[in-house]
């Protein structure tokens, strides 16, 4: 007994993981969707508050051309989604932003849709970069059909049958998002201006709601076209509708996002880590009902992975993830039945299981376990998620001395000072945008010598800054230093503004051969937004599924409270 007490006393409460461990791109890439992720947090809010989403208008002809309006009622605010359906065209079609064939263009607006709103959107949306949103517009959106799966589903429904699950499971959506632009783009409302009392006031909530509405639109459209095609047409089975998400393509632009919004990134990762630490710190005894819940979640994730048909190039296969989660499930089962972890009593058993498996599991499986743990602290997690925020502005602290700034840099950016920037590989790539649709691109410098480098060269910048700081008197103020070295202004402001944040900057030289862009794209897609089944292409593009398993509007209206993510195939 005294031995047991000694063991229990020695264990320190779990804490958020340290930045130097977590901010490596390979580590960030392994983050999995969680209750903190944007789409999941938003969907849970919609369910909790029982939002009312309904079709107000669906004037689409048999060619697929027409106008659709949705009404979205939050408890204290109303929104509208105005969409224009177009017959699909194969000309100039691509999932990239440079594409010029879109099957749907729409706008999420504040307030009920007026005829003036609809006509303005009809005129302006097709102009894209030359278009202007109305003052009540939050997001402009575009999506394309997954031609094969959409057509198969349409044909099946028209024949009075449900679509083949084997066909649907190849992609898990009918339409794919090809653009969600807001936060001031095209004149849409900036998110910081919405304020905390706004129904979509959290960062990116408006985009996530629009993604969900695109899912609904894709299902409503295929049902509508089937009805027009045949009198014996049937609707989608609600279980299939729930299973279908909306596709999502993401790529290099998210690396710019990560660097442009360091305070938001840090806030998100910090919220996630705090929730994980709180869950790891639960003291659960044999037979605790929360272990039943956790076991059920892990088993649900295992089935989801076993049924996953996607091919991944650089990430662990779903079969591997499922195999590893079986090991975690066995450990939870042991804890549930005996109260022990590996035969030992532990103060923080969930933390002990995490420690035991961290090196053994593929990273995706380990992070799945951590993400699922968050479900055990729902109130704390929802509070943390609701507080995720971060202004974009960075400011100079002019009275700080050269000595103080130098010390700060050595403490927080030693990794950047240690990277060898003198090799040819260190600056192999340039990040730029093309004049066509402003598409973010990354290419070898010799292939695009005229490009202006838009990437943030943290490593080269910090090394150059430290060299110049070393040339000046230690008591010189930053104000005087920047008079002499104005080219360091942005980096100095960034370093000073972020000094108290735990996770603002990935530890990487994004210009180098060694940097894998898909790692940070995946952080944003999977961890931040909560996208499932993210297939990777050429180490730079992802195709995934948003709102996979999200409840239908009827279920949201009814306040359906069960865990909806990781849906099993609806057979």
């Amino acid at each position: 007994m005294s031995e047991l007490r000694a063991t229990l006393i020695k264990e320190a409460p779990p804490r958020p993981r340290p930045s130097e461990e977590l901010m490596r791109p390979g580590k960030l890439a392994a983050f999995q969707p969680s209750r903190i992720s944007n789409t999941r947090a938003l969907m849970n809010k919609l369910i909790r508050e029982r939002w009312d989403i309904s079709i107000e208008r669906f004037d689409v002809d048999e060619t697929g051309s027409g106008t659709v309006v949705y009404s979205i009622k939050a408890p204290s605010q109303e929104f509208s989604f105005i969409a224009f359906s177009r017959p699909p065209s194969r000309k100039a079609r691509t999932g990239r932003i440079i594409g010029q064939a879109w099957d749907m263009m729409g706008t999420l607006n504040e307030g009920p849709a007026t005829e003036a709103d609809i006509e303005s959107a009809r005129q302006e949306l097709p102009k894209l970069y030359r278009g202007r949103a109305t003052p009540n517009a939050l997001v402009w959106a575009r999506s394309n059909r997954s031609m094969r799966v959409f057509d198969q589903t349409l044909a099946a429904l028209a024949e009075g049958k449900q679509p083949s699950i084997d066909d649907l499971s190849q992609v898990c959506y009918l339409m794919r998002n090809t653009g969600l632009d807001g936060n001031g783009t095209f004149g849409t409302r900036p998110f910081p201006s919405l304020g905390p009392d706004h129904a979509l006031g959290r960062p990116l909530e408006a985009q996530c709601l629009t993604a969900y509405l695109m899912r609904e639109y894709s299902c409503d459209l295929v049902e509508h076209l089937a009805r027009l095609a045949s009198p014996k047409a049937v609707k989608l089975d609600p279980a299939i509708r729930r299973y279908l998400g909306v596709g999502n393509g993401s790529a290099l632009g998210l690396i710019f996002f990560v660097h442009k919004h360091p305070q938001l990134i840090s806030s998100f990762i910090s919220a996630r880590e705090q929730a994980i630490a709180a869950a790891r710190g639960l003291q659960l005894a044999k037979g605790d009902a929360r272990l039943d819940e956790l076991l059920a979640l892990i088993r649900r994730a295992i089935i989801f992975r076993r049924e996953d048909r996607m091919t991944y190039e650089t990430f662990a296969s779903s079969a591997q993830v499922a195999d590893d989660l079986e090991k975690v499930a066995a450990a939870i089962e042991e804890l549930r039945q005996t109260g022990l972890v590996g035969g030992e009593p532990r103060t923080y058993p969930l933390d002990a299981i995490a420690q035991r498996f961290e090196a053994e599991l593929v990273p995706e499986a380990y992070e799945t376990y951590l993400s699922l743990l968050i479900e055990l602290v729902p109130d704390e997690a929802d509070t943390l998620a609701a507080a995720i925020a971060g202004p974009d502005e960075v400011n100079v602290s002019p009275a700080e001395t050269v000595e103080s700034l130098s010390t700060l840099i050595r403490q927080q950016y030693q990794w950047a000072l240690d990277i060898d920037m003198s090799t040819p590989e260190a600056y192999k790539y340039v990040w730029y945008k093309s004049e066509t649709a402003e598409e973010p691109r990354r290419g070898a410098r010799e292939e695009i010598p005229e490009a202006i480098d838009l990437g943030l060269d943290i490593c080269g910048g910090v090394q150059s800054l430290m060299a110049d700081l070393g040339r000046e008197a230690s008591d010189l103020s930053v104000a005087r230093f920047l008079m002499k070295y104005p080219g360091h202004r942005y980096l100095v402001a960034r370093i000073q503004t972020l000094r108290d944040l735990p996770y603002p900057t990935p530890i990487a030289n994004i210009n180098s051969e060694a940097f894998i862009p898909i790692d940070l794209v995946r952080l944003m897609n999977v961890g931040f937004h909560g996208i499932d089944k993210t297939r990777d292409f050429l180490r730079r593009n992802l195709r995934g599924v948003l709102c996979h398993g999200a409840p239908t509007p009827d279920e949201i209206r009814a306040g359906r409270a069960d865990f909806w993510a990781y849906p099993a195939e609806p057979r």
């Binding site: 990239r96 440079i98 900036p190 066509t436 930053v478 008079m483 080219g487 202004r489």
Partner: protein, 244 residues
């Protein structure tokens, strides 16, 4: 929306103004580390009814040759300082002036800086709005020689109180004549790389070689029109009023 001269006015939001400012300044001699931190200057100028984007367009050729090294401190005594702008544009001077006001206010509780030899000196008026985020209240007086006086203030953390002009910009944007904005837009486009078949290979889930072969898996569900990716020129979206 038309103004009193019957010119169409556009409501432009901060994100767009910052982006165009950054792109245009990237075409000048100003260092990247400077213009990345100077995105709000023209936006504030526009909102305050100063020179704004019309002035940016007018001074663009001059800014191409900007030299921040010509800005220097002429004299200094306690909390008072005299700064020679070295015939540089006021926008090039403002960030450093805010720094110096902040440093002196930190040391002495208040600060006074006189700026001489600045081009478009009236633009220094925007300092009072821009400096708020740095925790100093600034008054601006004078026409050729500009006197800026600062005192330390505490910030609440609420942007609507700390930076009312930025809050107004986030709420309403700035009204800009349509012809001017589209000229600015096209000028900023020059900072983007020309599109080409080679450049198109630097993004996307697959790469199309010159011989038409494709690198990468095709299960991306894009139904990509390969001829589109290999066409010598991709036309833009600008089908309506693109060059108005």
């Amino acid at each position: 929306m038309l103004n009193s001269q019957n010119t169409e006015m556009l409501r432009i939001m901060p994100r767009e103004m910052r982006m165009m400012t950054e792109r245009i300044l990237s075409l000048t001699s100003l260092p990247k580390g400077f213009y990345l931190a100077a995105q709000d200057l023209v936006m504030y100028s526009q909102k305050l009814g100063l020179g704004g984007f019309a002035l940016l367009e007018e001074r663009f050729e001059l800014l191409k040759h900007a030299d921040l090294g010509k800005i220097s401190i002429i004299s200094e005594e306690g909390a008072t300082l005299r700064l020679d702008a070295g015939d540089q544009h006021a926008w090039c001077v403002i960030p450093g002036v805010i720094d110096l006001l902040g440093e002196l206010a930190h040391s002495f509780g208040a600060a006074r800086i006189t700026v001489v030899n600045a081009l478009d000196p009236s633009e220094l008026q925007l300092t009072s709005s821009l400096a708020a985020r740095n925790g100093i209240a600034v008054t601006v007086a004078g026409s050729d020689e500009i006197l800026l006086a600062a005192s330390a203030i505490s910030l609440s953390g609420d942007i609507s109180q700390d930076e009312p002009l930025l809050w107004e910009l986030l709420q309403e944007g700035a009204a800009i004549p349509a012809p001017l904005w589209w000229r600015i837009y096209h000028l900023a486009q020059k900072a983007l790389a020309p599109d080409s078949v080679v450049s198109r290979r630097h993004a996307g889930p697959l790469i199309v070689n010159d011989d038409g072969t494709v690198i990468g898996r095709k299960d991306n569900d894009d139904e990509t029109d390969i001829s589109f990716l290999t066409s010598p020129k991709i036309s833009g979206y600008e089908t309506e009023g693109a060059h108005s």
